[in-house]
């Protein structure tokens, strides 16, 4: 790994977005993911190499989050730094030089407006090379079905925070499986568990964003 790519990777993992960003304090007034990525591309580093390093950085921070070594604010800053890198890499995705791993159709189920967990998952999964079709919160089953129709071969992610909306999640899972038996569904959110996921007919339960990435990557390979 070149020194420049190494710096990008460090900026992503530590959430150093750009020169102006005051966080983390020990990297204050130093270039961030934004400046280093621009420089790397100008100097001929390949977008694939940059993406691979960033994916690893996101995996590292995701692992730390799973182990309670860092918390949501640090994960969000890393995801923001990754998002800035992805802005630089967007033209290479469009030209087909680099490909996304697949599409995740994601939403918080009907009756539930809580979207922070879902947005966090979205940012981490995008940072790991997936395209995310984010349907928002309070998403009715019909909207999920329509999105699946528009994204053949996608994976579906359902989120819920309230125990009282788990019933809506179960209904959505059943309806999706009825119409698209081969579509993989991953569920998450505070009231969920592996057992609840199994009972409602989902394919997997992810306790945190990194676990979701692991399932997605295993299904894509």
């Amino acid at each position: 790994m070149s020194e420049l790519i190494d710096k990008i990777s460090i900026c992503v993992e530590r959430g150093k977005v750009n020169l102006k960003a005051p966080f983390p304090p020990d990297l204050k007034e130093q270039p961030g993911a934004d400046e280093y990525t621009r420089e790397a591309l100008e100097k001929g580093e390949t977008p694939e190499a940059i993406l691979q390093a960033c994916n690893q950085a996101m995996e590292n921070i995701g692992g730390k989050f799973s182990r309670n070594e860092v918390f949501v604010p640090e994960l969000l800053m890393a995801a923001k730094a990754m998002n800035v890198v992805m802005e630089h890499l967007k033209p290479y995705f469009k030209s087909g030089n680099i490909k996304s791993k697949g599409v995740l159709v994601l939403g918080t189920v009907a009756g539930d407006l809580h979207d922070i967990g879902k947005n966090l998952v979205s940012m981490v999964i995008e940072g790991n090379g997936w395209k995310v079709e984010d349907l928002g919160s309070d998403v009715k089953t019909e909207k999920f079905l329509k999105a699946i129709e528009n994204c053949p071969g996608c994976i579906v992610g359902l989120s819920a925070l309230l125990t009282t909306t788990m019933g809506n999640m179960a209904k959505t899972v059943v309806e999706i499986k009825k119409q698209y038996p081969d579509i993989k569904i991953i569920v998450g959110g505070a009231p969920l568990s592996a057992r609840a996921a199994e009972e409602m007919g989902a394919d997997a339960y992810a306790a945190d964003p990194q676990e979701a990435v692991k399932y997605l990557n295993s299904w894509a390979s």
């Binding site: 949501v72 604010p73 009756g111 940012m123 009282t164 788990m166 959110g189 505070a190």
Partner: protein, 243 residues
């Protein structure tokens, strides 16, 4: 003030409180814990939390109020106000058995704070937005606690006690029941409206019920006693604040 809801055949007394004069206080420890930090904060995080707290306070325009309604007990899971059934469920209803009246309450931080709480990759600073969102949730809950305290003090003067406060969406009470509460309160009470899925707008709002009676008691109820281990509040072992 006396508010006649003639078309609903319910008589209620409505009160509006100005909580902006007594801004809710949130201990720094509570914010840290809500963010997940139980030990030392990472470098720079304390400053980030302080900035977020200031922004949250500057954007808060708290409105709170309640209506007092006579209540009947229909069954172990249903309360009745006028012609309206409140299906509060088997966890909440028995705890309000001694209630002679119900206070239907709302508290909101207002809409302005929402411009700071969008947590997306496209936000300038999603981490700060997240921290403000967490602080706003604590402020909204604290506003409800202030209202609860106000009601408890007021009732005590007349020899009445108050129960714990309960909100739709929690303790097995369907969030859709929120529609009934808002039908019983004046339109856009405290500036809050309900969407199709029974969610409140502005989002940082709390609604619920508090029982009032001569023999009702505040119970040392907390999530650890609740049998619903799936609830996210139970997961955090969060205690509801006692008035």
């Amino acid at each position: 003030m006396k508010h006649s809801l003639a078309e609903k055949k319910v008589n209620a007394t409505i009160f509006i409180l100005d909580l902006n004069k007594m801004l809710p206080r949130i201990p720094n420890k509570n914010i840290r814990e809500a963010l997940g930090y139980t030990g030392a904060l990472p470098p720079g995080m304390e400053e980030m939390i302080d900035t977020a707290f200031q922004k949250a306070l500057e954007s808060c325009h708290i409105q709170a109020g309640y209506g007092l309604f006579p209540v009947e007990h229909l069954s172990s899971s249903i309360l009745k106000i006028g012609n309206y059934d409140i299906k509060a469920g088997t966890q909440i209803t028995p705890r309000l058995k001694q209630a002679e009246k119900l206070a239907l309450f709302t508290a909101t931080l207002g809409p302005e704070i929402e411009k700071w709480t969008t947590v997306q990759a496209t936000s300038d600073n999603p981490a700060q937005s997240y921290i403000i969102d967490i602080i706003a949730s604590l402020l909204a809950e604290e506003s409800a606690a202030l209202l609860h305290q106000h009601l408890a003090d007021k009732m005590k003067k007349s020899g009445y006690s108050v129960s714990n406060r309960y909100s739709p969406g929690y303790c097995g009470w369907d969030v859709n029941e929120q529609k009934i509460l808002f039908q019983l309160l004046p339109k856009s009470f405290c500036g809050i409206t309900l969407g199709d899925s029974a969610f409140m707008c502005p989002r940082k709002s709390v609604s619920g019920i508090i029982g009032i009676g001569k023999n009702i008691k505040y119970q040392d109820y907390n999530c650890q006693r609740c049998k619903n281990k799936l609830c996210h509040l139970a997961a955090k072992q969060k205690e509801l604040k006692k008035p």
